[in-house]
């Protein structure tokens, strides 16, 4: 399965790199969201800085919706789905590969947004260990959940509108956990944040397993 996963991850990443949509469109969009928050909330620096964790993760979620949508779109073109089914590739491998590709893309976006938040909102980085681990756990959780839900809406005309509706309520706990972890880290009280990091890790594992199990059914049933 792991070889299959690597195969699929490689393919997805190559498609994304070649098309450059992520770099040229999704990344600017996510920074734009950060900027819009400043317009909405009045750039009194104190306010933006205080809210930075929440605004950051909200921007990440919006960008994730786009990344996941694109990941699902790769398999919608003619015959790709059938080819996947017939090729004998383990569906769980397809899932892990796609989720991994989405995670890599998301991590890139998160670094970019992190720089954005430090620069635009005047945030002082602190508690690096917690920040990195929480971000990793949250990213895996978002990628795994998103890939599963992406398969649920794959191939549909309404994919673009249905995906956010289905995915965002499910990701609310991830948003809660990631924001709390970041807040704790930035406030210099990482001990408060580690339990939330644990929650994120739990969610990541849960959805990774669920996705791996369910992907086969979805590939066949559609």
């Amino acid at each position: 399965m792991w070889r299959d996963a690597a195969l699929v991850a490689g393919r997805d990443l190559r498609v994304e790199l070649r098309s450059r949509v992520t770099t040229n469109q999704v990344a600017p969009f996510s920074v734009l969201v950060l900027i819009l928050f400043a317009f909405a909330l009045d750039p009194d620096r104190q306010l933006l800085e205080r809210l930075a964790s929440g605004l950051y993760w909200t921007a990440v979620l919006f960008a994730a919706l786009l990344a996941i949508s694109r990941s699902a779109a790769i398999d919608e073109t003619d015959g790709v789905r059938d080819a996947l089914r017939l090729s004998g590739i383990d569906p769980a491998g397809v899932f892990v590969g796609k989720a991994a590709a989405v995670a890599v893309v998301l991590l890139g976006l998160e670094v970019l947004l992190g720089v954005g938040v430090v620069v635009l909102y005047g945030v002082d980085l602190a508690g690096a260990g917690l920040v990195v681990l929480a971000a990793l756990a949250a990213t895996v959780a978002v990628a795994a959940t998103g890939t599963l839900y992406g398969a649920l809406v794959s191939g549909l005309r309404v994919r673009e509108t249905l995906l956010p509706l289905l995915l965002l309520p499910v990701l609310a706990p991830v948003l809660i956990g990631a924001t709390r972890a970041f807040e704790a880290a930035l406030a210099g009280v990482p001990t408060d944040g580690w339990p939330w990091c644990g929650l994120l890790a739990g969610l990541a594992v849960l959805y990774a397993v669920a996705g791996a199990l369910a992907y086969g059914t979805l590939l066949e049933g559609s």
């Binding site: 549909l156 309404v158 309520p169 499910v170 706990p173 969610l203 059914t217 559609s222």
Partner: protein, 277 residues
């Protein structure tokens, strides 16, 4: 299986809803609706319990010491919330059963239960905020219970949206079943996370009826559970039957379309044969 006949001016291919002229040997006549003797009995019991609830809830039980009369909203709110969760549970179990057995009844049950759960979610949120206004001064607070219920409502809306897709019925049912299977786990995760989160900022302002609730108020609450439960069940029975009929109707439409297609192909074949080469 009846062969498709052309629709008459007055009716549908299967008659116009009156009892067909089939022999009554079995003693049963097809109704033109989703009722049955069992569901009628259920309906009457439900109505009766509603009357009891109105009496107990609005008249016979006393106002609460702290909340005054707004506690009367709880006699609907608490049971509605409970059956909301029950409905989600039914949807998840039915989704799991569909994935195992692939019989349409389970899919119909999953969808029916989710729709009724959404109705009850609306009632839960509505009565909850109407209770909140005189008690806390606002229609909405971000306490754990209300927030979780709001997210649960979003989950249900999403699930029902997925069910309305215009795709091949089996694909639709498969996707809906996977989503439905995830419903209860999502609800549990959301509830726990939100509770944990909100407990950091507020002492729990969960709606907890005084555990020493007793007397007429306890009776009113019990009657509330009874009435809401019977209404839920009655609605579920009928909505399930409607879903079943929808499935049958769709299946028959498909059969009809297939038969017509074959008929066309047959005629085209004959035409080709009859024209001289």
């Amino acid at each position: 299986m009846t062969s498709p006949t052309s629709t008459t001016v007055t009716g549908t291919p299967y008659g116009d809803g009156r009892a067909p002229d089939t022999p009554r040997a079995a003693g049963r006549v097809a109704p033109g609706n989703t009722g049955s003797r069992a569901s009628r009995v259920l309906g009457i019991l439900a109505l009766g319990s509603i009357v009891l609830l109105v009496l107990y809830g609005l008249v016979w039980s006393p106002p609460d010491a702290e909340m005054a009369d707004s506690v009367r909203l709880m006699y609907i709110h608490v049971p509605a919330a409970s059956f909301l969760y029950a409905g989600c549970f039914i949807t998840t179990v039915a989704s799991a059963m569909w994935l195992r057995r692939r019989t349409p009844g389970w899919d119909a049950l999953a969808g029916a239960s989710a729709e009724i759960s959404l109705l009850f979610a609306a009632i839960t949120l509505g009565t909850g905020s109407l209770w909140g206004r005189p008690t806390w001064g606002t229609y909405w607070t971000w306490d754990a219970r209300l927030t979780s219920t709001a997210l649960l409502t979003a989950l249900l809306v999403g699930y029902l949206a997925l069910r309305r897709l215009d795709v091949d019925p089996t694909a639709r049912s498969t996707r809906a079943a996977v989503l439905g299977l995830l419903l209860v786990p999502n609800v549990i995760i959301v509830n726990r996370s939100v509770e944990w989160w909100r407990s950091l900022h507020q002492r729990s302002t969960l709606v907890k009826l005084d555990p020493t609730i007793e007397g007429q108020m306890l009776v009113a609450l019990m009657v509330g559970f009874l009435a809401v439960g019977l209404v839920f069940t009655w609605l579920l029975v009928h909505r399930f039957r409607v879903a079943w009929l929808e499935y049958q109707s769709e299946r028959l439409d498909l059969d009809l379309a297939l038969a017509e297609r074959r008929a066309e192909a047959g005629h085209a074949g004959e035409a080709r044969e009859s024209t001289p080469a």
